[in-house]
């Protein structure tokens, strides 16, 4: 009971500290409002505004019809070039694709000779090159069919494939981006706030003050973790309601309370990481470098910027230790697939467990850092 009381009062103190600092409040607002909107609304389709050049040595109605079908928002208006020009332009990164038609392309097509057009793609961006090439093939073939037979779909094939996307039928990229961006902001702020609260207390010498009172390190550390969780969770809920659901119009398929509860569990794990970094670092400079070293994998390997399943096995095992990976899996399931507790409990358990592990490690370092700070 006394412990709970202690933690309660300490959390109050931490909250006053964070909210009393206007710079922090501005940075929190920036993260959860502006940054989420910037990132989510910035998300286009994988192939979007792709610059394309056409090397047309045929100049027939067919090739012009194909060129006219390469339209925004997927492609920019095609630029006519010679083969050499196109190669150089691709080197400079000005174009992503170059589509070349040989002489007599249309005539050969009418004659049933099945002529071959060439597509050159800049494969330094692998997924864009691949998807774009697929799109262009579909466009070329359907325009050719339409040109020759008047029916762009051609004869009905024997075996048809009916493809549908579940959970986001129109493939609106903003939905997923909004969620992963929210996760990025959660991670960055929680880790940095908790760790900095710890370091600041050490640098100002107030930690000694706490340590000569009848308080245990657990209470001191826990109160900082809880205070950060409260601040960031409130910001998260606000961002979810007003920015993600409100401005960005992202529907939440599952239970919103469950999503918030999961966020709370994730915050616990992230704050524990922050606490660990805060006790590990001896100066603000070291802390800052540690935060960057942790936040890059947290953001880039959790599945928001490339599927976890595609990672090599070893890296997949390593990223199991990233709570952000489990949170993203959880958030995708609840927000988009409408999953319930019965589905997502393993992720919740994993996040909570990781939090306990990080928090325990930071407590072990706490005493050590106390004696080193003197």
């Amino acid at each position: 009971m006394r412990r709970v009381e202690n933690i309660f009062w300490l959390v109050g103190k931490e909250l006053k500290s964070v909210l009393g600092d206007p710079v922090m409040v501005i940075l929190i607002l920036w993260s959860f409002v502006a940054a989420v909107m910037l990132e989510a609304s910035g998300a286009g389709d994988t192939v979007r505004n792709a610059a394309i050049a056409v090397v047309d040595e045929d100049r027939s109605p067919l090739t012009r019809q194909i060129e006219a079908a390469l339209i925004p928002p997927w492609f920019q208006v095609p630029v006519a070039m010679t083969a050499d020009q196109a190669g150089a332009a691709m080197d400079r990164g000005e174009i992503m694709f170059a589509l070349a038609f040989p002489p007599d392309f249309a005539a050969d097509a009418i004659a049933g000779k099945s002529p071959v057009a060439q597509l050159l793609a800049d494969a330094t961006a692998v997924s864009q090159a691949q998807l774009g090439a697929d799109y262009i093939r579909n466009i070329v073939q359907s325009e050719a069919r339409a040109f020759l037979t008047g029916n762009p779909d051609g004869p009905t094939p024997q075996l048809r494939l009916e493809l549908r996307r579940a959970f986001n039928p129109n493939g609106n990229p903003v939905w997923f981006k909004a969620m992963s961006s929210l996760l990025n902001q959660l991670s960055l702020l929680t880790i940095a706030l908790t760790g900095a609260a710890m370091l600041r207390e050490r640098e100002h010498g107030t930690i000694e003050h706490l340590m000569v009172m009848p308080l245990t390190p657990v209470e001191v550390a826990l109160s900082k973790v809880l205070a950060t969780m409260v601040v960031v969770l409130v910001a998260f809920i606000g961002s979810l309601l007003f920015v993600v659901q409100g401005v960005l119009q992202v529907p939440v398929a599952g239970s919103a309370p469950l999503l918030v509860a999961g966020a709370a569990v994730y915050l616990w794990a992230a704050a524990a990481i922050g606490m660990l970094l805060g006790t590990l670092a001896r100066s603000m400079a070291q802390f800052a470098l540690l935060v960057i070293m942790v936040i890059i994998p947290v953001i880039m390997l959790s599945g928001g910027m490339g599927a976890v399943e595609s990672q090599p096995d070893l890296v997949q095992k390593l990223t199991l230790a990233l709570p952000s990976r489990h949170f993203l899996a959880f958030a995708k399931a609840v927000a988009f697939r409408g999953a319930g507790m019965s589905t997502v409990w393993p992720q919740l358990l994993l996040m909570a467990g990781l939090g306990v592990a990080f928090f325990t490690a930071s407590l072990a370092l706490f005493r050590r850092s106390m004696s080193l700070s003197s």
């Binding site: 202690n6 864009q128 073939q141 075996l159 009916e162 996307r165 579940a166 003050h209």
Partner: protein, 932 residues
């Protein structure tokens, strides 16, 4: 008028006219007018917070003038040209022990740096450093880091730094606060010797030790931002009919307060308090034999090979006031921390009321109250909140908390300030609040670490009355450390500590008697002198032999490089930071390059095959054989399909209707349904394209892969074909595309943060004063520091490039020189961004937050790393184009993967080149050459 002032000895060294200065709402100086005669030693006396430091900062040009006129050395300090011109003639030593020194650098390195700032040549520096350090006795310690010097030695080093360029005007802000009596005496002897040698030099000193003020030629007594009186020490005492400067000051203060009535103590009470010989209160009778409140036996603490506390023993009786004296760094604080359980003892043991000090026992801490050296309450909380927080953490309960508040608030005179933020209180009040907090739970023992350092005499007297009250009336045992002899005299017993050892423990009068000294101070000096070898102080050779050209104005490469050298040395002294920077980036490069994959592999899929015909199995087997897909257990019914998709177990599900095979065989045609998990849109797009591709190839190669599907052979194939070639990365591997795009991320984030912290740290620690008061230009300061981080970034670039080529096996096909050029431009941009952020932030915390939060998103998301900038939408795309990573990414990927050279990349290079100068230029323009 001006002509007259410019000639002759009568020209004042500084003149202030109607100067007012405020910090936010707090007024530091109010309509102050003052003329300081040249060639004299002028003392500025007055309590903490009356505006002494502000006044000195204004005269030295370190602080920006807000209102009024300040003329120093014959020119207006509002004029930047004049400040630059006389920068080399002024030396300013700010308040705080070694506050403008670089603690991680050695004595020699510190002095070398200051010499370079004032344009001294190598030989000149060597002779002057040699002469100054010999004269001050610091010569044997030239290679010791400044941070490891004692307080007195730090101040001597500060003095050497100030004197290195033979200034005409020396400003010393509380140079002896926190220094032991012997060092203090040596310091003043040194100043006297210097003045004897260079009589034309003017000296302005502020001090909290009234005894010292008697040595000065001329005194200026200040209170509440105004001048109370100015005269020679003798005249001042005559005017006020007092016998000591301390008493004179109090009399002046009282006369001043009489106009604005206040409840200040009588001059008599103060005079007795400051009287060095007669204790104000007689110690109580020897304590009755009982369990000592505090007992220490052979208490020892070592940090590495440095012994901070060496076998300390003492017994302190209940209700006793026990004083602890000694210079800074002699081990007082460490001893106190061991007694509170903050630090474990290396050897020996300590007991509180007979039970061993156990850091793990929270209940034992209820009996102890602790007040640490620096103000360590929460500045952002109000006085009331601070008190209540501590009451609650000690679980006093509501009733007792109310009663304690009712008792303590009037007793400590905090009523008027209850709702004020603690960090806005003047020092004296803060200390009272600290004490109130330390006693709120009515502890039986109070441990106070230099509670009155920097507090004015009157506030100190009030403070000690509270202590005596607690000791005599509440029988609280008080263990207190102090630098003040008058306070030591009020203790029952005192210990003198030096270099980790207790030299003597006894009653103050007994200690005086044991050395037959006239005062406690003399007795202590005698004790300490016996411990250390006499210093060869030959101040006669202090003055320089040649005249230096101190007023170097205009841009100086030497000064710029002085900052570079210094910063580089400091960075080298922090190997952990460098290791983080180099090993951290290397590790991240490897993990990220292997970890991020643009390929979609091993996508789990399953099928609900309601047909189970050879045809359906043949169709599905073409997916099972692909390395893109990973087969999971078959789906049994439509509900299971929904569930397994919802759980995220499956990314792709097929449904093959009954009669599929039969329909195909009959030639009516059949349909397969595929459902893709669309939650992750990018991945869904890729999966979709794979499924379509696989489906198309099944149809096109009918029978090839699955003989059962031979009937699909198309009657009329596509009228035209499209052959795709993937340039630069024909195998479509992730590594050649990801590998070269990771260094651009790391080479921005790490240098930006290192740089941002570096300037903010100088602001927080106070070494930025060296930039304010020396002739250093803004560009010299910033670019000088920046060069170091540009160097680090380039080294890091070399390491990362080698790793990409050797460890990731991505060949560098293009021109390495172009990549190097881009890295150089990029490093200027990254560090320039760090500079800009750090100039906007006042603390390291803000610098860290602002630089991380502002740079992580554009660097990771908008720079073309995963999504080409051209595919971004709206503001994100604009931001991407306005961020240097985008352009360096283009060069990095261009040279590595595309094998490009200068001609192809000149556009990106030119854009990249803009960022560095713009960021750095903005930083230089925004940086203030003076403090607010």
């Amino acid at each position: 008028m001006t002509t007259q002032m410019m000639t002759g000895q009568t020209e004042p060294v500084a003149q202030l006219g109607q100067v007012s200065h405020r910090f936010g709402k707090v007024k530091a100086l109010e309509d102050l007018t003052l003329v300081l005669p040249a060639g004299r030693m002028i003392g500025l006396i007055g309590p903490d917070g009356v505006g002494k430091s502000t006044l000195m900062g204004l005269i030295a040009g370190a602080k920006r003038l807000q209102q009024g006129t300040v003329r120093t050395l014959g020119g207006s300090m509002a004029d930047a040209r004049h400040r630059t011109a006389i920068g080399g003639r002024i030396a300013y030593m700010p308040q705080g022990l070694g506050r403008n020194l670089y603690h991680d650098l050695s004595l020699r390195e510190n002095l070398e740096f200051f010499g370079k700032l004032f344009g001294l040549g190598r030989a000149e520096r060597a002779t002057r450093i040699d002469r100054l350090t010999r004269a001050t006795g610091l010569h044997p310690f030239l290679d010791r880091p400044a941070g490891k010097l004692s307080g007195g030695m730090k101040q001597k080093l500060g003095l050497c730094s100030a004197l290195i360029h033979d200034p005409d005007f020396l400003l010393l802000d509380e140079p002896t606060t926190g220094v032991d009596p012997l060092s203090r005496r040596q310091f003043w002897d040194l100043i006297d010797a210097i003045r004897a040698d260079r009589p034309q030099m003017s000296v302005l000193v502020s001090t909290a030790y009234m005894e010292e003020a008697a040595r000065f030629d001329h005194l200026v007594a200040m209170n509440a931002g105004r001048v109370l009186a100015e005269a020679s020490p003798a005249d001042l005492m005559v005017q006020t009919e007092t016998t000591s400067i301390g008493a004179a000051y109090v009399a002046l203060l009282q006369a001043d307060n009489d106009m604005a009535p206040n409840d200040s103590p009588t001059a008599d009470a103060f005079a007795s308090a400051t009287d060095p010989v007669v204790p104000a209160e007689q110690p109580t009778a020897p304590p009755p034999p009982e369990e000592p409140a505090i007992r220490a036996r052979d208490l020892t603490r070592r940090f590495g090979d440095f012994t901070a506390v060496d076998k300390v023993n003492f017994d302190i009786a209940r209700g006793e006031i026990f004083g602890f004296l000694g210079s800074n760094g002699c081990g007082k604080t460490t001893t106190m921390k061991m007694l509170t359980g903050l630090l474990p003892a290396t050897e020996g043991e300590a007991w509180i009321f007979g039970s061993p000090v156990d850091a793990q026992d929270p209940q034992a801490r209820r009996r102890v109250g602790f007040m640490s050296q620096a103000f360590s309450l929460y500045g952002e909380l109000s006085v009331r909140e601070n008190l209540l927080l501590h009451a609650r953490l000690f679980h006093l309960g509501r009733a007792r908390t109310d009663q304690r508040m009712l008792d303590l608030v009037p007793r400590f005179e905090l009523e008027e300030h209850l709702d004020q933020r603690a960090d806005t209180l003047p020092l004296g009040l803060r200390q009272r609040l600290s004490l109130a907090v330390a006693v709120i739970h009515e502890p039986e023992i109070l441990i106070l670490d230099e509670p009155t350092s920097g507090v004015d005499p009157q506030a100190r007297d009030d403070f000690w009355k509270l202590l005596l009250d607690l000791s005599r009336n509440d029988r609280v045992t008080i263990f207190v450390s102090t630098h003040f002899m008058d306070e030591a005299m009020r203790c029952d017993r005192i210990s003198l500590m030096h270099a980790g050892k207790v030299l003597v423990t006894d009653r103050p009068d007994a200690i005086i008697a044991s050395r037959q000294a006239p005062s406690l101070e003399e007795a202590f000096i005698a004790y300490i002198s016996a411990e250390i070898p006499p210093e060869p102080a030959s101040a006669a050779v202090l003055a320089s032999t040649s005249d230096s050209d101190g007023n170097a104005s205009g841009f100086s490469l030497r000064r710029l490089l002085a900052y570079t050298t210094r910063e580089a040395m400091q960075v080298r002294r922090d190997p952990v930071r460098l290791a983080f920077a180099f090993l951290g980036t290397a590790m991240l490069l490897l993990i990220m390059s292997f970890g991020i994959s643009q390929e979609v592999r091993n996508m789990p899929f399953a099928a609900l095959d309601q047909d189970h015909s050879p045809e359906s199995r043949a169709y599905l087997s073409t997916f099972e054989d692909s390395h893109w897909f990973l087969t999971r257990a078959p789906i049994l019914d439509p509900t299971a399909l929904k569930q397994r998709m919802a759980s995220g177990e499956l990314t792709l599900a097929f449904q093959i209707p009954p009669g599929f095979g039969a329909d195909l065989r009959r030639g009516i045609g059949a349909e397969v349904a595929a459902l893709i998990d669309g939650a992750d849109t990018t991945r869904a797009g890729t999966v979709e394209s794979y499924v379509q591709g696989n489906h198309a190839s099944v149809v096109a190669n009918a029978g090839g892969a699955a003989p059962a599907l031979a009937m699909l052979a198309q009657a009329n194939p596509e009228p035209v074909q499209l052959i795709s070639r993937f340039r630069y990365n024909p195998a479509m591997e992730s590594l050649p595309s990801i590998g070269p795009s990771i260094p651009p991320l790391l080479l921005l984030l790490f240098p930006a943060i290192l740089m941002a912290v570096s300037v903010a740290r100088e602001k927080e620690i106070g070494t930025i004063t060296n930039f304010y008061v020396t002739p250093t230009g803004r560009a010299e300061f910033l670019i000088g520091k920046q060069l170091v981080y540009i160097g680090i970034t380039l080294l890091n670039f070399a390491i990362l490039t080698a790793l990409v080529v050797l460890a990731l096996g991505v060949p560098l096909r293009g021109d390495p020189l172009v990549l190097l050029l881009a890295a150089l431009l990029y490093s200027v941009a990254a560090t320039g961004f760090g500079l800009l952020v750090s100039i906007m932030s006042s603390t390291q915390v803000t610098a860290v937050f602002a630089s991380t939060i502002l740079s992580v998103m554009p660097t990771l998301q908008f720079s073309g790393m995963m999504t080409p900038v051209s595919s971004l939408e709206g503001p994100a795309r604009i931001l991407g184009n306005l961020w240097p990573t985008t352009w360096y990414m283009a060069v990095s990927v261009g040279t590595f993967t595309k094998g490009l050279g200068l001609a192809d990349l000149s556009g990106a290079l030119m854009r990249l080149a803009v960022f560095g100068p713009v960021f750095t230029g903005l930083a230089i323009l925004t940086l203030r050459k003076q403090e607010k």
